[in-house]
């Protein structure tokens, strides 16, 4: 672009201007002098014509055209102007210019106008503004210029309404203004819908079946040509709600409400608490509503109606209240995570109706499952029972006890798994007296085999096997150091822990527990449910100092020594806080406050009827304690409470949540891979330690199993179950409590209340919402395996809190 170009443009009244363009092109504009503007009046001068024989002479019919007042934007009647050639030769009209708000068809007069000829143009006035407007009609001809002036007045009539829209039967004041100001002139009104009074009050029709537009025209009575129009939207009447019968309804049910109001035939949607409901229009003043309440609905709800369409809108709200139950849905759902295997719609309903205390009492009365034969002997029965409301609490407690009174079932009975029998022992004793439990544990051949107290022939000259004696004290009753009733260790004058026993006490405890053998002789493995019997000749007869300050006299029979041992441990001050803390950890929180432990230990010491060791009372006190119940109110939830679900508990909760089915016993092979093989803990120390701590110094026993490999295995198992690829499990998503959600909100509400007792964290809500949004073509139903998998995989779901 190095070459400079010049562009010549001709314009009037301008000096030469050079524009420098960025690209280096200069444009030179040349003016060509001034012209004669057509400002003259009529010129009748004639110039020499081109003809040789005659002269043309042009005249106009008038020099002033006066127009009547005309509405702005409207067009006046025409005023004619005639150009005549009264000369003897033809003239040539080269151009006609009309200025201002005037116009005409100039073609009639352009060109040659013969001698004695004339042409007429109709000039029209269309004012573009109000006020006096002038203009001109200029003819440029071969004989010179001729000009006529034109003038007229623009009149502006404007129309407005007090309301932007009106509804059926409503009125609004119209205002006509002339040239922007009020006018005293009379106005005539016209409308094609509704009516207008002479003083300008518009009233819409009393029956507007569909939204429409009223076209309203006003014209000056004096000057009918001056008009204005207004298009006023006219809508249907908005429905209103007046009252509802009844005003109080049940949660979790569909109730027919009769709602009265006005214009109800125009109602297109009715919501309760924002959720659309089904309704029937009975009349313009009454509708009937099927109010479907979710089970977790509570408190006061707003009923609101709305009419759709361009004229749509909402009604005011009516208040509806949901009948309060003794226990809220969310509190019941939370309670069921502690006392059972999570919330199912049926379980929540039961707790809500019975109340927590009543529900616990019922659970305490329900008989234990009979594991002694048939299906009871199959491994899957434990898991199947977690889905029965009949055994929930007993089974939760027996599971807790099984991690305190540990006897690996598979070791004791050889090729037969004794696990179900151990389960039966613990379930039978779960709500009984702890002394009964201790003696049953000590005499069980399963425990005898597991901790080697069977055939412990410790007569004179033989060193007794100390295995059971030690763990009976350390792990099952009193622990290694003396405790206060709140579970804290007693410290001596030097601030040191005080041991509960010495190594020599262990030896004597083993002597006191010596001499037991299987009831049936001559076979390698025991009858699992038949207690061991005493072989006095194997029992050590010497005096035994079984605990500091406790000595059993020499010569006591074995059974007497056992009762003495059981009584000593049962009545040891450590036992109450020891057992209380562990049961609380399994049911409610890994980190109970000392006061919580002390309250439960007090119930252990005395159930209110003077009985020590009433486990049913202890369990009830644990679950109803204020520290356990505090989190029922989300606002009061203690961030330091709760416990992580161990794998077996988690699996049972998840299966309950989706109402999955254990189709056979293959669950037995799978709890191994998630770190908790049922009935087969790795040692007497069970699957994890009650004292397992996080590095922040808080206890999190179950987190000991939450390693990277177990965590991945657990995710994998649940996903495999949810996608129905795991033999032994079946999930029918069509009938799960999450299926057929009407909206994302409805789905999230179900997850929130069923899985999170109303306390779903934002991160879970966001994740699920995003996942649904990212798959717009997929239905929520079709995504349930993924969505619920994520919902039960969150840390928050896995933490009972």
């Amino acid at each position: 672009m190095a070459e400079r170009q010049q562009i010549h443009i001709f314009r009037r009244h301008m000096g030469d201007v050079i524009l420098h363009l960025a690209i280096g092109v200069s444009i030179v504009l040349y003016g060509c002098g001034a012209s004669k503007s057509g400002t003259s009046a009529v010129s009748s001068t004639s110039n020499s014509g081109s003809g040789s024989s005659g002269v043309p002479l042009l005249t106009l019919s008038g020099t002033q055209l006066a127009f009547p007042d005309t509405s702005v934007g409207a067009t006046s009647v025409a005023q004619n102007i005639t150009l005549s050639n009264t000369g003897t030769a033809a003239a040539n009209v080269q151009s006609i210019n009309i200025s201002g708000s005037f116009r005409s068809d100039t073609s009639l007069c352009l060109g040659t106008l013969a001698a004695n000829a004339k042409c007429t143009m109709a000039v029209l006035f269309t004012p573009n503004q109000s006020g006096t407007l002038t203009g001109s009609i200029s003819f440029t001809t071969s004989t010179g210029s001729l000009t006529a002036t034109a003038s007229g007045k623009g009149i502006a009539l404007t129309l407005s309404a007090a309301a932007i829209t009106v509804r059926e039967g409503e009125s609004t004041q119209l205002t006509a203004q002339l040239n922007g100001a009020a006018t005293a002139q009379a106005v005539n009104w016209h409308t094609d819908s509704g009516s207008v009074t002479p003083d300008g009050v518009y009233t819409a029709s009393s029956n507007v079946p569909a939204s429409t537009t009223a076209h309203i025209t006003a014209s000056l009575a004096a000057t009918p040509s001056v008009t204005a129009t207004l298009n006023l939207p006219v809508g249907r009447a908005l429905p209103t709600l007046t009252s509802s019968m009844p005003t109080q309804i049940d949660a979790g049910a569909t109730t027919t409400l009769t709602i009265t109001g006005a214009h109800l035939s125009n109602l297109s949607q009715l919501t309760i608490n924002g959720l659309p409901q089904t309704f029937t229009i009975v009349s313009d003043t009454q509708i009937s509503v099927q109010a479907a309440m979710q089970a977790w609905d509570s408190g006061t709800m707003a009923i609101k109606g709305s009419m759709s369409g361009s004229d749509g809108g909402s009604t005011g709200a009516l208040q509806l209240s949901v009948k309060a139950l003794p226990v809220s849905y969310d509190a019941a759902a939370r309670f069921l995570q502690q006392a059972a295997y999570g919330a199912t719609p049926a379980a929540v309903q039961q707790v809500q109706q019975m109340g927590m205390s009543g529900w616990i009492d019922q659970q305490l009365r329900n008989p234990a499952y009979d594991y002694s034969s048939g299906m009871g002997l199959s491994y899957g029965q434990y898991y199947r029972n977690t889905q029965s409301l009949q055994y929930s609490l007993r089974q939760r407690v027996s599971s807790a006890l099984s991690q305190i009174y540990v006897a690996g079932g598979s070791i004791a009975c050889g090729p037969t798994d004794c696990g179900p029998f151990w389960e039966a022992l613990l379930e039978n004793d779960a709500f009984g007296n702890a002394r009964t439990l201790l003696k049953d544990v000590a005499l069980s051949p399963i425990m005898g085999a597991f901790l080697d107290n069977v055939n412990n022939a410790a007569y004179t000259g033989k060193v007794p096997n100390q295995n059971f004696a030690r763990e009976f004290m350390q792990l099952m009753t009193i622990g290694t150091v003396q405790l206060n009733q709140d579970g804290s260790p007693i410290l001596d004058a030097n601030g040191q822990l005080v041991p509960t026993y010495t190594q020599s006490n262990i030896v004597d405890m083993a002597n006191a527990l010596s001499g037991w053998k299987y009831a049936r002789t001559g076979e390698l493995y025991p009858q699992a449910q038949v207690p061991m019997v005493m072989a006095e000749s194997w029992h050590n007869q010497s005096a035994k100092n079984i605990l500091p300050g406790v000595t059993l006299p020499a010569g006591q029979k074995g059974e007497v020594d056992l009762d003495s041992v059981v009584d000593t441990l049962f009545n040891h001050p450590n036992y109450g806080p020891f057992l209380s803390r562990r049961l609380i950890q399994h049911l409610v929180t890994s980190n109970p406050s000392p006061a919580y432990i002390a309250r439960i230990a007090a119930v252990f010491a005395d159930d209110g009827n003077g009985t020590r060791g009433n486990l049913g009372a202890v369990v009830k006190a644990i679950l109803l304690d204020k520290e356990a119940r505090k989190g029922d109110n989300a606002a009061q939830a203690d961030p330091a409470t709760g416990h992580f679900m161990e794998p077996a508990l988690y699996l049972a909760n998840v299966m309950n949540a989706v109402q999955g089915i254990y189709t056979d016993d293959q669950v037995r092979d799978l709890d191994v891979i998630i770190g908790q093989p049922l009935y087969s803990p790795p040692s007497v120390f069970s699957y994890y330690s009650p004292d397992h701590m996080l590095s922040n110094g808080t206890y999190a026993p179950e987190a000991q199993l939450f390693t990277s490999s177990n965590g991945v295995a657990k995710l994998g198992l649940i996903y495999s179950i949810f996608t129905n690829k795991q033999p032994g499990f079946q999930v029918n998503w069509k009938t799960s409590p999450f299926s057929n959600a009407t909206s994302t909100d409805d789905f999230l509400a179900r997850v929130n209340h069923l899985l999170y007792h109303g306390q779903m964290p934002d991160s879970v809500r966001t994740t699920l919402t995003n996942y649904i949004a990212a798959n717009p073509t997929a239905s929520i139903n079709s995504m349930l395996p993924d969505l619920i998998f994520m919902a039960v995989s969150s840390a928050a779901y896995q933490t009972i809190q």
């Binding site: 295995n467 994998g716 996903y719 995003n770």
Partner: protein, 443 residues
Amino acid sequence: MNRREFLKHSSRITLGLSAAPLIPRLISAPLLAQASGSNSGYRAIVCVYLDGGNDGNNTVIPADSFYSQYAAGRGELAIDRTSLVGLQATSGGRLFGLHPSLKNVASLYNQGHATWLCNAGPLTTPYKKGQTTGKVPLNLFSHSAQAAEWQSALTQADSTNGWAGRLADLLAKQNLSSSPVVVSTSGWQLLGSGTTTDLATIGAGKNAVAVLNALQSLTPSLNQMDSTPGSNALSNTISEMQSGHLSTTKLLLDAASTGSSIQTKFPSTDIGQQLRVIAQMINGRSRFDVNRQIFLSSVSGYDTHTLQLSLQASNLADLDAAVGAFAAAMQEINMFDQVTLFTMTDFARAHQVNSGGGTDHAWGNHHLIVGGAVKGGDMYGTFPSLVLGGDDDFATTGLWIPTTSGTQYAATLAQWLGVQGKDLNNVFPELSNFSKSTLGFLG
């Protein structure tokens, strides 16, 4: 790769997800670089934890004139002298034999690649029978307490961390690695739990690869869900733990399948397969951006309160075969000099037999160390006199009072990994109670 799995309660750092380490090997950290003799090479220690308390008295047995002392106290459990596997004479002129099941171990010993540390156990301070000053460790003879004392090297209080975990903490402080220092094939172990770091675990499960594949598309959503702390403290900690599980598992599986496969055959036993996986990870160490690692394996069944002769023979045979295979595998991949295997166990067992043909809980025990770096073919520590009720017996049934502390044992391993000076005393707070910090069995 995500670092959070190994960093407890750290701010949430997410490094780019990648199968291959993005970060070059940063372990030119002053601590390990300066302290170790050869400063840049990879080194690992491998713990074989014998869960329940191995009976050391029938593991290392006097084969000289002291055999009769041994046999007198052992009674029906005494192993016939002629069936012992012989070890070459110690520098002190003692003759010992090993349990008949330990043929591979004996062979490694006699080649100078293995040693036994005699009569070590948890000690707070040096302790002699009847001594009234000083302290003995808490809850002697309890499985849980003694195991914790071995693993934490702390004997006077419950600890939330183990010495291997504290070593990992030291590394993490100096090295922004995204790889775990401690990897366990046997689940969570106190030994590997640090204050600021946690151990990673790898399961024997062949399913893990399939699980990772199945969950691939959901992984971003799962990570998102764990990304924002909620209101519950425990749930937040669980969330931090869980956030690294998938990526950690992927890294460990990748490492275990990297490199040419090891030809040495491992036994199909539990411990055999654990050591196989560890050997594979060491072979695939290029996947890790650390060059010091601690592997934890564990094998149960050693709590032989009854029927000890048969149970222990079987246990030790499994151990011998697995250790033999591991040593051979390390030699095969030329890592024998850089990897040291060692045993720990709850405690020893009483020298005197109990009524069930088994033994009960005791204290000081003998521990095996194997590797090219071991100054083997000789014994370390002091072998106890096996006299029931004698000066070395805490009570009357042969509960040998340790003459070397578990802390000294662990510190020797840590020093070989490169820890020294003040750091050594920080990791092992009770070490200064003993005149010798380290025991010299590693060169």
